[in-house]
């Protein structure tokens, strides 16, 4: 049963990936890395480009884990993709990065992390970036 991590090229995404690698290693399970975009805007800074994808692959190769990267433009938003993938693969754990936000900021901004927390069937590990 795999560990799924939602990866974005920010410090929160970084923290989530590190935590996910540790978890996958200690559980001895596969790691599924999801990076997705709806492609609705002309630019999306959370969608990794080819360079970062290569770097990510190299890093995961070095970790020695059995892993898979899902990197695609899809009409569903990333949170839905992660939750559905978790159900399909009967994942043990979802790891996501969350931004530090004030309660007001939380109210104003829609969040992929919030959707995953609310919708996922399996345990979700929410990781913050180190200060």
């Amino acid at each position: 049963m795999p560990v799924i991590v939602g990866f974005v090229p920010t410090k929160e995404g970084r923290a989530a990936l590190d935590a996910a690698v540790t978890e996958a290693r200690s559980r001895g399970s596969r790691l599924l890395v999801v990076n997705a975009s709806t492609g609705a805007a002309s630019a999306d800074n959370r969608y990794v480009d080819d360079e970062e994808l290569t770097a990510l692959r190299a890093e995961l190769d070095a970790s020695g884990l059995d892993y898979e990267i899902s990197h695609a433009v899809h009409k569903k938003d990333p949170a839905e993709i992660i939750v559905e993938l978790a159900e399909e693969t009967h994942a043990d754990l979802i790891v996501i990065g969350v931004r530090r936000r004030t309660p007001v900021g939380k109210l104003l901004l829609g969040s992929q992390a919030q959707k995953v927390l609310l919708d996922a069937e399996c345990p979700v590990l929410a990781v913050k970036a180190p200060r």
Binding site: S37, T38, G39, A40, A41, S42, A43, D44, N45, Y47, D49, V73, H74, K75
Partner: protein
């Protein structure tokens, strides 16, 4: 020097708070639509036309001119930070500009683009002020056959010079002429091409056509291609401009101005060809040609100066002859016409203060653009994060609202849908949009000139070529049609095919660029 005096008068007229406000609004909106790929000044002006019916003519025209210049600035931001040209005029900028941004010199690229645009725009606007009265002196003496010849020249130039296929260009031109001639024959009063539909007997409102082709067609096209891998915005890094950057930039700026201005003034499809020429000449002249392809600042400075100079250049035939050379210029002519003003040689006499206020406000808008773009490029780039469905929903709403407001007739909404579908099909099958809009606007006037010339000559075709001027123009037209064939044959003999070379096929983002080249041709 009467031009400069008139310009000073215009400056004092342009410096009223309301005019400044509209100039500011124009450049603000212009920058925004310049940043957004696929939305250009032509579409924006077409959408705003019905909403500005109640504005005084100066303020509307000042706003539209600011929009035109602003689009040229905004396009460079997208080119540099995203590697996707925001406008067809910024295709060449993307090549070196994005490399610079990735190498941590984004700030320098943005500033050479903005300052270069400012320098070139200012010089070219002064050239416009000096040149336009001289052109008017010649133009005022032209007769009906001469005007017909000039318009035919515009038709042929705009269809043959731009785009990959001449047949597609002429097909598009034919569609435009067809739509333009629907309605009542101005000489005999008979209905033409109306297919017995009463609502067509008054002709199709050109505003509806412009909105349909630019806004509706583009929105449908984007909707059909919504899911594309989004690009990353390269963060702006580095110093704004070092002494070395400046010393490497100023010559390309001036050369760009010299290349851009005359190209803008001839109907050769706007800024694509001159920016391409500027890029290759900078590559040849550079002391560090090895830097080209890895972020050479000359490759940003030249084309960015060129596109602004060509925008100013395109105002020369627009204001003096009423001939549009780009899609945006065509829509600007529409704007004049909605106020019952026909751009042409008499414009400077009848509407002198208006014209000079417009030219002066271009200088002011240019300065505003520099202040608006240089420190806030990063902020503008944030516009690219807006999901396109929201943007295009807004555009479709404004398009429908505008088409309905034009005459308050529901029939126009059906026309909007129908012609919007046509615009989509043209994008799908690679037909350029610029010939359509030029044909649409010029055909009715070309017809009037032809009919008048023929009436004078009692129906003899010789009446169309009885002046030296018209003969020269027809020879030029013949050259324009024949020369490419001879050229390709000569070249085909000398050199084996070396792959596509041309403004429509630079490196990355070429697909995107072509889409927008079709749409805007600004």
């Amino acid at each position: 020097m009467d031009g400069l005096n008139a310009l000073l008068d215009g400056m004092s007229a342009a410096l009223t708070p309301m005019n400044l406000l509209y100039a500011f609004f124009g450049v603000l909106l212009g920058t925004a639509i310049g940043v957004l790929p696929g939305i250009g000044p032509a579409m924006a002006i077409a959408l705003l036309l019905p909403l500005t019916y109640t504005l005084p003519v100066e303020q509307a025209i000042i706003m539209f001119a600011g929009l035109y210049y602003g689009g040229m600035y905004g396009g460079s931001t997208t080119s540099i930070l995203l590697n996707t040209p925001g406008e067809s005029a910024s295709v060449m900028t993307a090549i070196e500009g994005n490399k610079m941004a990735k190498a941590g010199r984004g700030a320098a690229a943005l500033s050479t683009a903005a300052i270069g645009s400012f320098v070139a725009g200012t010089i070219a606007t002064f050239c416009l002020a000096l040149l336009a009265p001289q052109v008017v002196k010649v133009a005022i003496q032209l007769g009906d056959p001469d005007y017909l010849a000039v318009m035919l020249f515009a038709f042929v130039a705009v269809t043959t010079v731009l785009g990959s296929s001449k047949i597609r260009g002429f097909a598009s031109l034919g569609l435009g002429v067809w739509i333009g001639l629907i309605g009542i024959d101005p000489t005999s009063g008979q209905q033409r091409l109306t297919f017995g539909i009463d609502q067509l007997s008054d002709g199709i409102d050109v505003v509806v056509v412009a909105v349909a082709v630019f806004a509706m067609g583009e929105a449908l096209w984007i909707a059909a291609h919504l899911r594309r891998a989004p690009a990353r915005i390269t963060p702006i890094k580095g110093r704004w401009m070092t002494r070395e950057d400046l010393s490497r930039s100023w010559k390309p700026w001036l050369r760009g101005t010299v290349i851009g201005f005359p190209f803008g003034a001839i109907p050769a499809g706007g800024a694509e060809i001159p920016t391409f020429l500027s890029y290759i000449s900078e590559r040849k002249l550079s002391k560090k040609p090895e830097e080209f392809g890895h972020g050479a600042i000359e490759g940003v400075a030249g084309p960015e100066a060129t596109n602004n100079a060509s925008a100013a250049g395109s105002l020369v035939p627009l204001l003096t002859l009423g001939i549009p050379t780009t899609a945006t210029a065509a829509v600007m002519i529409l704007a004049f016409q909605t106020y019952g003003i026909q751009p042409g040689p008499r414009l400077f006499q009848d509407q002198g203060p208006l014209v000079w206020t417009l030219i002066a406000s271009l200088l002011i808008g240019n300065a505003m653009l520099l202040l608006l773009n240089l420190p806030m490029a990063g902020l503008w780039a944030k516009l690219l994060l807006i999901p396109r469905p929201y943007l295009y929903a807004g555009i479709l709403m404004f398009a429908s609202l505008g088409a309905y407001a034009a005459n308050g007739s529901p029939f126009d909404l059906w026309l909007l849908l129908f012609i919007g579908g046509l615009g989509f099909a043209m994008r799908r099958f690679g037909l350029p949009v610029v010939p359509l809009i030029v044909g649409l606007i010029l055909a009715p006037r070309a017809e009037v000139f032809m009919r008048r010339a023929l009436q004078i000559s009692d129906g003899h075709l010789s009446g169309l070529v009885n002046t030296t001027f018209s003969k020269v123009v027809y020879v030029l037209i013949a050259l324009l049609i024949v020369a490419p064939f001879i050229w390709s044959r000569v070249r085909g003999r000398r050199t084996p095919p070396e792959g596509p070379v041309g403004p429509s096929s630079p490196t990355t983002g070429a697909d995107d660029a072509r889409v927008h080249a079709n749409t805007e041709g600004a």
